[in-house]
Symmetry: C2
Subunit: 269 residues, 2 copies
Amino acid sequence: MYIDVKNILHELNEEIELLKSKVSHEPKLISLVVEPDPSTLSYLKTQKKTTKKYGVNLEIIESHNLEEDLNYYNEDKSVDGIFVSRPLPKRYSELDIARNINPKKDVEGVSFFNIGSMYYEEELFVPCTAEAVVKIIEENTKIQGKNVVVVGRSTTVGKPVAILLLKRGRDATVTVAHSKTIDLNEITQKADILVVAIGRANYIKQNFVKEGATIIDVGINVVDGKIVGDVSSEVVEKCEVTPVPGGVGSVTSLILIRNVFRAAINNSI
Amino acid sequence: MYIDVKNILHELNEEIELLKSKVSHEPKLISLVVEPDPSTLSYLKTQKKTTKKYGVNLEIIESHNLEEDLNYYNEDKSVDGIFVSRPLPKRYSELDIARNINPKKDVEGVSFFNIGSMYYEEELFVPCTAEAVVKIIEENTKIQGKNVVVVGRSTTVGKPVAILLLKRGRDATVTVAHSKTIDLNEITQKADILVVAIGRANYIKQNFVKEGATIIDVGINVVDGKIVGDVSSEVVEKCEVTPVPGGVGSVTSLILIRNVFRAAINNSI
């Protein structure tokens, strides 16, 4: 069975409407792009449409000096939120963003301050994809005492999902596996809840999963011009699986928009 | 078999001597104590002896306003390192320290900046006990591809050990279990490396472990006036186990001292 995220989207839409009614200005979101490639620019075009629909003014700015530009927009009062487009060129690392972005404008939740808060179990802005994953799990199954396996150890999915699910009150037992894990399928087979962020099309087959598990597919891969996830389609016969597209990605987009409105409210106080 | 940490202590001693030769002043370490109880004061007395032995001037200061005092010593040029004694009274949380302590003086590695760096795989000051655990594991067994189970999800042991062992190059597959984990022994039995930080005397018995596993006992419990760990003594018949006392705690103490010298060097630049 596929997991339907429309309830979550509906709730997020309502939350955004409520926040919108409290902001007197059109929120301004800056996307810094370093050495953009065509696919990044095409992705940003889509994002421009989404933000426009929700009444957010997205400005795409080509950056030639990331630290300098972050410092500039960190201070610019007219800017509510900032994010940096990925992929980054090799001379930059995630650390350069995490260290320098103003935590109040860090709508993607990647700054030291926001990561630190999450680590100490206070959720302010947390990495959007990780929040989407946790929201979908909470909506669809009990978490306490469950064995969760997260495949992937990135700073935007694997690590934050693990930290968020370990939080007191959620109380999952969490395993983080990754590309260097030996006999991955033996580990994933034991998962009551499986979060997959590998980045390899249709990698997770039926022999990787336990009957009845809840599976969150974070993968976005292009195969023959079609977008597919990391979980192969026949897995839906055994498990509840989020669709790709239309699952985690849709929820993530709305979380980003909601965060921009939250930042705008804080900015106008 | 018990694991002998004397090689690690020897290496740390050498590292400290080397750092010492580069510092021209006696490093000053401030311990802030809020509402001290007798056991905290007695522990600090021991610490005072250790620091003295290594040529560190430890000043114990009773704090009536933690944020104010942190701000004061954060700026005080004569102070190289700061730590806050635990337990904290209920009106304070770990967040109050993490948010306010100057990362350059944060010799325990608990500040947002240092936690954030660790999260992004850059190790500056990391939580001392977690570094001790990782050092002992690295000295005694291969980590890559191993299944590590960490029992406990604290901000000073469980979470940082997990993050440090997931780091690229170390590449462990890591499970974090805790007090809400169901059938804990089924999970710990699968561990090639088991890190135990539960805080319950002799809790881990033979039926919790796999033959030949490497076990790091972080527990410090007092039973009939004697200090014992979380791992029961008969486990040494099946596994390699760190002793308590004389294991993780001894390494942790030296890491703290080393960090004070590192901070002193940075402070004198």
